[in-house]
């Protein structure tokens, strides 16, 4: 729904405004904690939230934190102690059920 709304903006002539909207739009992110913080994740998760990560879900067994943030905040998230990597949460698509190769 959100994507459709932004595309509707794209039809408008005010191009500068579109760029602003895209920059502010949050992206789904995957934050991998380093090995030393898998079992001591509390302060790291708190710092991630403080630095702008929202919709936070902590996958405790594997030391991953799912969340969303504006692209402008990613560098700050990367610098937090206990964070090994911040990656974009990518989308995949299976072939249609009747496709010959699955």
């Amino acid at each position: 729904v959100r994507r459709r709304r932004i595309e509707a903006f794209a039809l408008r002539p005010a191009a500068g405004r579109i760029i602003d909207i895209m920059a502010a739009r949050k992206k789904p992110l995957l934050v991998t904690l380093d090995d030393a913080h898998v079992d001591k994740a509390g302060p790291v998760v708190a710092s991630l939230k403080k630095a702008g990560l929202t919709d936070v879900e902590h996958l405790e067994a594997i030391g991953i934190v799912k969340g969303q943030a504006a692209p402008s905040k990613v560098e700050a998230l990367r610098k937090i102690r206990g964070v090994k990597a911040v990656e974009e949460d990518a989308w995949t698509q299976l072939p249609a059920p009747d496709d010959p190769i699955q």
Partner: protein, 454 residues
């Protein structure tokens, strides 16, 4: 709920840096050769291999074998013997002293009973094994040997499997679906296995399962959806139902119509993780939530017939590698489809990361499927014209793809996991690869070969 053995080397939260208090890896030596050698026997040739080792190497202290000690070797026995044979995996460890004569070692490599001779490396150990008291030392030796094999298999440039000669103009094999079973269960020797996956938990992370399918009625099913806004694991696509059928379908599909057997581990516990929506789409984060759920539920095997196409210049996914590696440390092996990008496309993510087992596809002549992605493939499974379950009312259907090869390996992994309580995590991966049937196709297509049931 399945009965669990207390001896299983389960990981717990405290496995951290991999160097246990009794670790055999002096700090900083990881990756360095130990001076010892690992000798892998050909299938069924352990006895003649041992004889060859004794005559060629002239080993003084004799050969200590786990088979002679009912699966236990203590440190003194290991030290006293020039050679320790780990019968369970057909591997012998040769001491540095016994291996000092390089010519003799090379001669041994030519013996028909010997598959491979490789240097042993110091490895990062999985320390939870050290706290399973009963057969601690045996497990340590086993673990070191198998983690060394693991390193060899997983490191780029690892030696290719010994090819099986194929007579000119002939094909390696030709399997067919029969009234009783699919060609894939025949080629992987599932139909000859006494194991059923009983007591083993297999999570299939996919589009879900048709919960109304008669072939799964009466089976305990644990389900969880990770698709936002979707609470049921009901499969609206058919990909997931097909994969779950291959990994976990019943030994005797119920009548009517009473179809052929198509499932590898008919008594394993079914964990359905819905990480793709009914259109077959999904976020990497949903799949990671599924892995986290499987690890927390102590699933020994995770099957992921899905992947993300990545440009070859992109770095590997840190998140999937961390998730799979942390899973291995806790006894969960993640298995993924290599991808269907064919000879020019690389592996998909997460099959491309080191701690995920990557599965390529072969057809019923054991030739590599044309669509199967090439790269650091670990093992192959049946993936062309695979018969399995699809949502009702069609009930059954044929599908092709590395997506179909992956659940064959996952189901067979459950059989191996049932066969020994210490076949978990990286050890389970090693056993699957060590016991695979070598194929003439190169390793970048089929890895160590076609998966075989115990």
């Amino acid at each position: 709920m399945a009965k669990r053995t207390s001896r299983a080397p389960r990981a717990n939260g405290r496995a951290r840096n991999g160097h246990g208090p009794n670790g055999q890896d002096p700090a900083g030596n990881a990756g360095q050769p130990t001076g010892r050698f690992l000798v892998t026997f050909k299938e069924g040739a352990e006895k003649s291999g041992r004889q060859a080792m004794q005559s060629v190497l002239g080993v003084r202290g004799g050969v200590a074998a786990t088979a002679d000690y009912k699966g236990k070797l203590n440190a003194a026995e290991l030290d006293a013997a020039d050679t320790a044979v780990l019968s369970e995996i057909g591997v012998a460890i040769v001491s540095a002293g016994a291996a000092a004569d390089m010519q003799a070692v090379a001669a041994l490599g030519n013996d028909p009973a010997i598959e491979a001779i490789e240097p042993e490396y110091f490895v990062e150990v999985i320390d939870q094994l050290e706290h399973e008291a009963e057969s601690e030392t045996y497990l340590r030796g086993f673990r070191d040997a198998s983690t060394a094999i693991y390193r060899n298999l997983y490191s780029p440039g690892a030696s290719a499997p010994v090819p099986v000669p194929v007579p000119d103009g002939g094909t390696l094999a030709s399997f067919s679906d029969t009234a009783a079973f699919t060609w894939g269960l025949d080629a992987t020797r599932v139909i000859k296995s006494k194991f059923t996956g009983q007591g083993i938990r297999v999570a299939v992370l996919d589009t879900g399962l048709d919960l109304n399918h008669p072939d799964f009625q009466g089976r305990p099913i644990v389900g969880q959806s990770f698709v936002p806004g979707v609470t049921s694991v009901q499969d609206g696509h058919s990909h997931g139902t097909h994969c779950i059928g291959t990994a976990l379908g019943p030994a005797l599909p119920p009548k009517p119509p009473g179809e052929r057997r198509y499932g590898c581990a008919p008594r394993a516990e079914i964990f359905v993780g819905k990480v793709l929506n009914d259109f077959g789409g999904g976020q990497a984060g949903w799949a990671l939530m599924g892995i986290d759920w499987a690890v927390r539920n102590k699933c020994q095997v995770v099957s992921m017939s899905l992947g993300w196409i990545i440009p070859p210049t992109d770095p590997d996914s840190v998140a999937f590698e961390a998730a799979a590696h942390r899973g291995l440390l806790r006894g969960t092996l993640v298995i993924a489809a290599a991808g269907n990008e064919g000879p020019t496309g690389g592996l998909r993510s997460p099959a491309n990361v080191p701690s995920v087992m990557a599965v390529g596809a072969v057809d019923n002549t054991l030739a590599t499927a044309t669509f199967s992605s090439r790269g650091d493939v670990n093992i192959a499974g049946p993936g062309v014209r695979v018969f399995s379950t699809v949502p009702m009312a069609a009930r059954y259907g044929f599908k092709s793809g590395t997506s179909m090869a992956c659940p064959h390996v996952a189901g067979i992994a459950a059989l191996w996991a049932q066969s020994k309580p210490f076949f978990r995590g990286a050890v389970l991966a090693n056993v699957l690869m060590a016991k695979a049937r070598p194929l003439p196709a190169p390793a970048n297509q089929v890895g160590k070969g076609l998966v075989q049931a115990p």
